[in-house]
Amino acid sequence: MSLSVLLSVNGVAREVALDDPRVTLLDLLRERLGLTGTKKGCDRGQCGACTVLVDGRRINSCLTLAASCDGARVLTIEGLAEEGALHPVQEAFIAHDGFQCGFCTPGQIMSAVGLILEGHAGDDPERIREGMSGNICRCGAYAGITAAILDAERRLAERNRAEAA
């Protein structure tokens, strides 16, 4: 049985033939498209390391079959920043020391971008912590990540105001 999925990954149309429907979106990105920035931490939706945005919403790519994603728009860590310039969330992760080993970091960043897009958390650290609770960081950089998200939200809001004006 052969399937073919057509997706937009980081703005580029990609068509991939699957000879086995067991392939998850995570494995498709990593093993078929060479986009290894998205990480596999548990392969069952319990750690958040594989978080990517699909059609603008953050999901666990390990729990999503690639075949189910036909026609989807996927944004991964590799597509977040233009060459040279970091995304404001990435900048803020540096400024607030939001990581150590860096393995969960792509998932944390994509989850944070998703959280900010959702617009529920505002500037309430408690709601940010709740909103990020699906992303485990075993290096324990939680406080730094929370501070980074608050900071990035401010920067993005300023940027949006500036663009509007």
């Binding site: 086995d20 067991r22 990593r30 093993e31 060479g34 986009l35 290894t36 920035g37 998205t38 990480k39 596999k40 931490g41 548990c42 392969d43 069952r44 319990q46 750690c47 390391a49 991964t76 860590i77 590799e78 920043a81 970091l86 990435q90 992760f93 540096i94 020391d97 990581f99 150590q100 080993c101 860096g102 393995f103 969960c104 970091t105 792509p106 960043i109 940010i128 912590r129 709740e130 990020m132 609770s133 699906g134 992303n135 485990i136 960081c137 075993r138 290096c139 324990g140 950089a141 939680y142 406080a143 730094g144 990540i145 929370t146």
Partner: protein
């Protein structure tokens, strides 16, 4: 402002933030095939037979394939007298000794297909009674995990002498049974490897997620019978280790052999279930402690028996007594008292072998000892911190040799405690307790003080008898023709930011800009031998070697500069990457260009070693460094349901001179987060049949965003007299105290109800049970 002490941004950050780090799972080689391991479903059994369908037979391998090919079992003997040696065939031979033990391996084009084959491999077992509880396993008559042994004790150690008559009149005598549960380390990146044969180099190349590439290489050489030069081990970016990647894994041996046998690249990635069931492996201790004190709370003596569940095999290189043997020597903690006796038992059970989890043994010891201090305080009617203060080694006694011969290098332990008491605002917590909470919760405050031996030296490890004794740590430093600096070190940075901190050390000495300094690490083919990154040693040992190498390079630069500047050697100074004598100066880059490209200009007596050097380093004392800290916490306990909320958490710590305070703080935050897991959440229980019950992250509870509060840190900075720049090891410190401090804070909250918790993790169910017991047996 970029050297030692600077809060500079990490060189590692950019690639990690962009998802451009290269972790082992990110490596793909042409023709690479995938491995899956078949694991024992039972804890203790003889293997009678394998049933492998004929159509997949060539893709399945067992010990029957490996042994005739000359593969040897993993053997990690301790040199301590009486140690019983276990042999662990990397695929079980005739017997399985824990559920999850690898018994066969399968090879296929994809992991899914390899698992399809694995699911068809059926082993028939003759089940044996499993040893699940360490106390039962240690008792006479328990079935032996290793038949040729006389009992299940890897090693018994004794420290000190009986002292009952010396303390017969002690007014305070406290006895406690204390239990800590088995934990799993769970770095977010599991173990993983890619193996291939490099035909040009005629070398087995193993990319593996490890903290100690050189030791893995040694272990592979022993098990495979290959000479060391035929093996190259490379640790790429590693996604956290915390000890789990500080050993030779059976899967590494199997994959390496299979790669030689099949002649194609192979990959194995540990999945989360494999990690949780086959690697639940640290911190399971039982203590019976009696402490004696005078009426003021001054410790007179501590008498303890400690059991450690060491699992089924002795791991390479640390051995099965890595926790218990330490317990005997570190139980006295940061305290000064006259009498001590401790017996320890490393018990062999039908569980996965114990491995060195960050804060090895120290987190448990601190949990036990700090409970005892609080119990003494309760007995003499004083604040627990006052009793701590009475017993801590005072600064005027530093350096201090404690009762087990530990040589505390420097510091003011009491000051860390006083600052913690002030910083947590003990008085206001006491007032709050009197007023009561509007929501009815019980508030409590707790303290714990510890000192952490790190960067232990040759004599210490020789004394422990482990098969791998670290000696001089070496670093190779090379100034390039354009004035950059390459450092090569055998340690492995996996979250500690060493690419940055080592560059800061080199910059401090040579003044070369950080962006021109590059650290190569984690590759046996490119770096000097090292035992690797573990035991809070890399900054002290390899950082010291960086400084030593750079100083020698500075000396060579000055000699060449003196010649080129026509100055006297003693007049040439090196500062900011520039060598100067009076008004004349020359850059490091100009000297480097001369050495490499215009050697005709060099002095006749120039050191032919040039601008490249390998320097070895050891601190002035083999005893290691002792960082220390007092942690303090305020908690609120919901006594109806048993939930604990951490309201405030303060760390007052002293790790000597800080090379990069941001990295130090990251290590402390991370350690405390893991310690909160140890204290309140993490537990890998086994049922009576020896089956691990927490096989997913829904069952093995890691602390997340909502469980880890903001943590406040106050630094003290007392240099070690024995190390370069006075730095001390600190990577493990954060994890040591949280379980003790939170347990003490919870007990402080519960004391109004007369309840005491003694076991870790302190779960809601345990809190409610303690409250129930207190109601059943009100305190006298």
């Amino acid at each position: 402002m970029f050297g030692v002490g600077a809060r500079v941004r990490r060189k590692e950050d950019d690639r990690l933030l962009r998802g451009r780090g290269r972790f082992v799972a990110d490596i793909a080689l042409v023709g690479m095939r995938e491995l899956a391991f078949v694991r024992s479903p039972v804890a203790h059994a003889r293997i009678l037979s394998f049933d492998i369908p004929e159509q997949v037979r060539r893709q399945v391998f067992t010990w029957q394939d490996l042994e005739p090919a000359g593969v040897r079992p993993i053997r990690a003997a301790s040199g301590l007298p009486g140690f019983k040696v276990s042999e662990q065939p990397p695929l079980a031979a005739d017997k399985v000794r824990f559920a999850g033990e690898p018994i066969a391996v399968t090879v296929a084009a994809t992991r899914a297909e390899a698992e399809d084959i694995a699911s068809q491999v059926i082993a028939e077992f003759d089940e044996l009674p499993p040893n699940v509880d360490m106390l039962a396993a240690a008792a006479p008559g328990a079935p032996c995990v290793h038949e040729h042994w006389s009992d299940n004790i890897f090693l018994e150690t004794r420290v000190g002498q009986s002292f009952e008559k010396d303390v017969a009149a002690a007014p305070v005598r406290i006895s406690r049974s204390i239990r800590t549960q088995r934990q799993c380390i769970v770095p977010l990146e599991g173990k993983g490897l890619v193996a291939h044969w490099d035909r040009q180099a005629e070398q087995l190349v193993l990319y593996t997620a490890t903290q100690m590439p050189h030791i893995v290489r040694s272990g592979l050489s022993e098990c495979l019978g290959l000479p060391l030069e035929a093996i190259r081990v490379i640790a790429p970016d590693v996604g956290g280790g915390f000890g789990w990647k500080g050993l030779l894994q059976p899967e590494e041996v199997v994959a390496a052999w299979l790669c030689l046998h099949l002649g194609c690249p192979l990959r194995w990635m540990e999945d989360r279930r494999e990690h949780l069931v086959a690697a639940a492996n640290a911190r399971e201790h039982h203590y019976e402690i009696t402490a004696y004190a005078d009426a003021d709370g001054r410790l007179l003596g501590v008498d303890a028996d400690a059991w450690v569940d060491a699992g089924a095999y002795s791991i390479y290189p640390f051995s099965a007594c890595l926790e218990a043997a330490q317990v005997g020597s570190i139980l006295p903690g940061p305290y000064d008292f006259p009498h001590y006796r401790c017996r320890t038992f490393s018990v062999c059970t039908n569980k996965p072998p114990i491995v060195p989890f960050r804060g090895v043994a120290r987190a448990n010891v601190c949990f036990a000892m700090e409970q005892i201090i609080d119990a003494i305080a309760a007995a003499v009617g004083r604040e627990a911190w006052e009793v701590r203060l009475l017993n801590l080694v005072p600064p005027e006694k530093m350096p201090f040799d404690n009762i087990t011969g530990k040589h505390f290098d420097s510091g003011d332990y009491p000051e860390s405690l006083r600052r913690a008491v002030a910083g947590i605002d003990l008085a206001s917590v006491r007032r709050r307790q009197l007023q009561g909470e509007p929501d009815g919760r019980l508030v409590g405050v707790g303290f714990a003080t510890y000192c952490e031996q790190g960067a232990h030296g040759t004599a210490v490890y020789h004394g422990w008898g482990i098969p791998m004794v670290p000696g001089y740590e070496q670093v190779q430093a090379r100034i390039t023709a354009d004035g950059g600096l390459e450092l090569r070190a055998g340690i492995q940075s996996h979250g500690q930011g060493m690419e940055t901190s080592f560059a800061q050390v080199a910059h401090e000495v040579l003044g070369i800009p950080l962006e021109r300094i590059r650290l190569v690490h984690g590759d046996t083919g490119l770096t000097p031998y090292s035992t690797g990154t573990w035991g809070s040693r890399s900054m002290v040992m390899a950082g010291g070697a960086v400084a030593t190498a750079c100083r020698r390079l500075a000396d060579r630069l000055r000699r060449i500069a003196a010649h080129l500047l026509q100055a006297r050697l003693e007049d040439v100074t090196l500062s900011g990457g520039m060598l100067q004598s009076g008004q004349a100066d020359i850059t490091i880059a100009e000297i480097a260009r001369t050495w490499y490209l215009a050697p005709q200009l060099l002095p006749a007596d120039v050191d032919p070693g040039g601008l490249e050097i390998t320097a070895g380093y050891k601190p002035k004392s083999d005893h290691g460094t002792f960082s220390y800290a007092t942690h303090a916490a305020v908690v609120a306990v919901d006594a109806e349901v048993g939930l604990v909320e951490i309201l405030d958490y303060l760390v007052v710590e002293d790790a000597g001179t800080m090379v990069n305070p941001a990295i130090v703080e990251g290590q402390i935050f991370g350690g405390v987060a893991q310690g909160i897991g140890t204290a309140l959440y993490e537990c890998s229980p086994y049922d009576d049949a020896g089956q691990p019950m927490a096989s997913t992250l829904m069952d093995y509870l890691l602390p997340g965003f909502t469980e880890v509060p903001a943590i406040r840190i106050e630094h003290m900075e007392t240099p070690s007299p024995y190390t370069e720049f006075g730095v001390k090891g600190l990577g493990e410190g954060g994890v040591i105290a949280p379980s003790a401090v939170l347990c003490n804070a919870i007990n402080d909250a519960l004391k109004a109800r007369g309840a005491v918790v003694t076991d870790q993790p302190v779960t809601p169910a345990r809190i409610l049970a303690a409250l129930r017991n207190a109601r059943a047996e009100p305190p006298p």
